[in-house]
């Protein structure tokens, strides 16, 4: 008996699972840097986060929805890694589990699971933790290169934290700003990850390697990362030229904080970004503008999470107004 079906009769070998696997591979360099800089605590945070995310997704699909187990698509693993990447290494385990529940249980599964969620699950979890536990979420252990078992927590400030302080104090006293300025890490430290911050964001170089891998494997296209980073960079550069305020120094701002992690790995999340090229560009530019506004004109030193989450909310609207141009028809 011959089998019949309608065409096409061949399929690409790329599956949801293989795409997710590629994202995980792309996250590996940043993960290795986290382990080298923050030691066993980084391992604890990431493992707790991944295990909790996968467990919540399994429990919800199996017991609550009585549906097919979807954890094999690896998307929950990515959410776990990204949530871990957005936390300081000193984060208490139970809080991580709470964050994982918000990520998977509320931001993802309550909306219908993979493909249906409006907000990036990892970011939703992170912001929940940030608002609920502001003290723990802003304690940044100092990187301690290759001292793997060191669990003594010496906290330091993040680059953006220092910059924010300078900005606030500079109007009062130029001297104070010069003192803090010496605490700023240099470009090399920011590239390699020798700076305080969330686990996954410290090394710009590791994130760039991950981006190149995803571009090479055609997991994502360059549009969202480029337009996001470029918009933000241009705005800071313009302000810097006009004000000469070191807070806006564009390269430091580009390499520090969650900008690259967010622009490469979270704004590019398929589910929560627009479908068409034009929409993706609008989305990315919006993320860049919001990050700029929140970083420099709000009480927070960092604005990537909020910027992406706010733009996530606009995705259905952007999708509605940015259809592709259809062949043989004029754009309306």
């Amino acid at each position: 008996m011959l089998k019949i079906s309608s065409s096409p009769h061949i399929n690409s070998s790329v599956t949801t699972q293989s795409l997710m696997r590629d994202v995980l591979i792309a996250l590996t360099p940043a993960m290795l840097v986290a382990l080298m800089m923050f030691g066993i605590n980084a391992l604890r945070v990431i493992l707790t986060s991944v295990a909790a995310c996968v467990m919540f997704e399994y429990l919800i699909t199996h017991y609550l929805l009585k549906a097919k187990n979807t954890t094999t698509d690896l998307s929950a693993v990515i959410t776990g890694v990204l949530l871990g990447f957005n936390l300081p290494s000193s984060m208490p385990s139970w809080m991580i589990i709470v964050g994982a529940f918000v990520s998977i249980g509320i931001a993802k599964m309550a909306f219908g699971g993979l493909g249906k969620n409006i907000f990036n699950p990892a970011l939703a979890g992170r912001v929940f933790l940030f608002i609920s536990f502001p003290v723990q979420m802003t304690q940044w252990p100092k990187p301690d290169f290759l001292n793997f078992l060191n669990t003594d927590i010496v906290t330091s400030a993040t680059t953006l934290g220092i910059l924010k302080q300078i900005d606030v104090s500079s109007s009062a006293s130029i001297k104070a700003s010069q003192v803090s300025l010496t605490e700023l890490p240099n470009y090399w430290q920011m590239l390699l990850g020798d700076t305080g911050g969330s686990l996954g964001e410290v090394s710009a170089l590791a994130l760039f390697i991950g981006l190149l891998y995803m571009l090479w494997r055609r997991v994502i296209t360059w549009h969202i990362p480029f337009y996001y980073v470029a918009t933000f960079f241009m705005l800071t550069a313009i302000t810097w030229f006009n004000t000469d305020n070191v807070h806006f120094e564009p390269v430091t701002n580009l390499l520090s904080g969650g900008l690259l992690l967010g622009a490469f790995f979270m704004a590019t999340d398929y589910v929560t970004s627009p479908m068409t090229r034009q929409g993706q560009i609008i989305f990315a530019v919006g993320c860049g503008i919001l990050t700029y506004i929140i970083r420099f004109y709000s009480a927070y030193p960092e604005g990537v999470s909020f910027a992406i989450l706010i733009m996530n909310a606009f995705v259905p609207l952007i999708d509605k107004f940015t259809p592709q141009r259809v062949y043989g028809r004029k754009r309306k």
């Binding site: 019949i4 979807t70 698509d73 998307s75 259809v326 062949y327 028809r329």
Partner: protein, 441 residues
């Protein structure tokens, strides 16, 4: 070749699997029985003018064109008409066929069977057009659109471009490529004949960059013939789609819902162009064509066969030493747009460029998972459609927005279904969407 042409919207790169690209054309021979369908074109079935018991020769008219979009059907073998019956064609529908029991080859008197190339182009346009009509020519690239209609330009329209389609962008298929390698001069003369009929000075033969030998051969011949040029196109799917090819070569777009002639273009497949040569210069009706047999190398020996119309697929598969018991799917055409046949007995028609066999395991569709909104379907769509939106609306039985999503413009190339990481059968939804939009009219 630095100036490779392609279409700007969508498209993707496929593993070409052109196993038989350089295989010589072999004669498939004469099967004991041929089943010649009376409808191998888009219009009404041709009207049968023979009866069981009649003796026929190769080229004997069996059925006459019935209406404008119909075409003549000729005997592909010599022998005796056994039956007029209904058998299952490749799509599974029962179709009327003329069954002929074959005997040794014997040709109708006017057919020139000599191998000489005749480049003596007739001066009378009406004579050329009449021979094309008499020979029962239809588009051999798969559409089956009668050639005489394509070559008659409506009064208020004009043609600036004649494009000969030698792209063959489907994986496995090599029939057109083999024809270009072995009959380059005949194809070029065919193009000149079409120039003459259309009243234009220049034909462009478009060839895919992955056929360097064919490009070289045809380019060499075109040096001796004024008014035929070669354009090299990028190897991208669906480069051979009529609309995509027009845009690649001319930069024009065929307006939605219109025909190529509305963009001043006529596109003919190379096999059709060769058939034009044979019809006009050799008085030969369209009764045989090149068919590629290919597919999984463990199942069949890939090759290109000169095959009589009406030959059962099974006969050709046997010629190619195919392990029939392991076949999962038998495709008439390529794996992207081909039809999976219901029976090994389905006959080869004027439109059949290839038979592709797929093993049992690869014949099953993969499990569908949730759409992850990756947008790859919209990225590869050569028509600029948004298959994900078409599918999600249909899934919710929401047929109102389908028209605005221009589902009717879908060319069913399969790029979206192919690329989908969640294995959503997007083309199925587009086909369903077309049906729903038609219902709304």
């Amino acid at each position: 070749m630095c100036n490779k042409k392609t279409f700007p919207l969508g498209g993707l790169h496929l593993n070409k699997q052109k196993i038989s690209a350089l295989s010589p054309i072999q004669d498939a021979g004469i099967p004991p029985l041929v089943y010649i369908p009376v409808k191998q074109h888009i219009g009404t079935p041709a009207q049968i003018i023979v009866a069981p018991g009649d003796k026929v020769k190769i080229g004997t008219l069996l059925a006459k064109a019935n209406g404008a979009l119909s075409a003549n059907i000729h005997a592909s073998v010599a022998g005796e008409v056994k039956k007029i019956e209904e058998i299952q064609g490749e799509k599974g529908y029962f179709e009327q066929v003329i069954t002929i029991q074959t005997s040794a080859d014997e040709y109708e008197a006017e057919i020139d069977t000599s191998p000489d190339i005749n480049s003596n182009i007739p001066q009378d346009v009406e004579e050329i057009r009449q021979k094309i009509t008499a020979a029962g020519l239809v588009g051999m690239g798969g559409a089956g659109f009668p050639t005489p209609i394509k070559t008659t330009i409506p009064e208020n329209k004009s043609v600036q471009y004649l494009i000969i389609n030698g792209i063959e962008c489907e994986p496995y298929l090599t029939a057109d490529g083999a024809l270009m390698l072995e009959k380059p001069e005949q194809i070029v003369i065919g193009a000149k004949l079409l120039n003459k009929v259309l009243g234009i000075q220049n034909a462009i033969i478009a060839i895919d960059e992955n056929k360097p030998q064919a490009i070289a051969k045809i380019t060499q011949v075109t040096k001796r013939y004024v008014g035929v040029n070669v354009a090299v196109c990028k190897s991208k799917y669906p480069q051979g789609g009529e609309k995509q090819l027009i845009t690649a070569i001319t930069g024009r777009e065929v307006p939605a819902g219109k025909l190529p002639i509305d963009a001043g273009c006529v596109v003919q497949n190379v096999a059709t162009t060769y058939a034009v040569y044979e019809a006009v210069m050799k008085n030969k009706p369209l009764y045989e064509r090149i068919v590629t047999v290919s597919g999984d190398p463990s199942l069949t020996t890939a090759g290109n066969y000169l095959t009589r119309i009406g030959t059962p697929a099974e006969y050709l598969l046997d010629k190619a030493h195919t392990n029939k018991s392991q076949i999962g799917k038998l495709l008439f055409g390529g794996p992207m747009m081909g039809v999976s046949a219901v029976s090994l007995q389905a006959p080869i028609t004027k439109k059949t460029g290839g038979l592709v066999v797929i093993d049992t395991a690869s014949s099953l569709r993969q499990d569908e998972t949730c759409c992850i909104r990756c947008g790859k379907c919209a990225e590869v769509c050569p028509m600029g459609l948004m298959p994900f939106a078409i599918a999600s609306n249909l899934r919710r039985n929401n047929t109102a927005p389908l028209k605005a999503l221009h589902v009717a413009d879908c060319i069913e190339c399969g790029a979206c279904s192919y690329i989908c990481p969640a294995k959503v059968p997007l083309v199925d939804y587009c086909k369903l969407g077309k049906y729903e939009v038609n219902k709304q009219k």
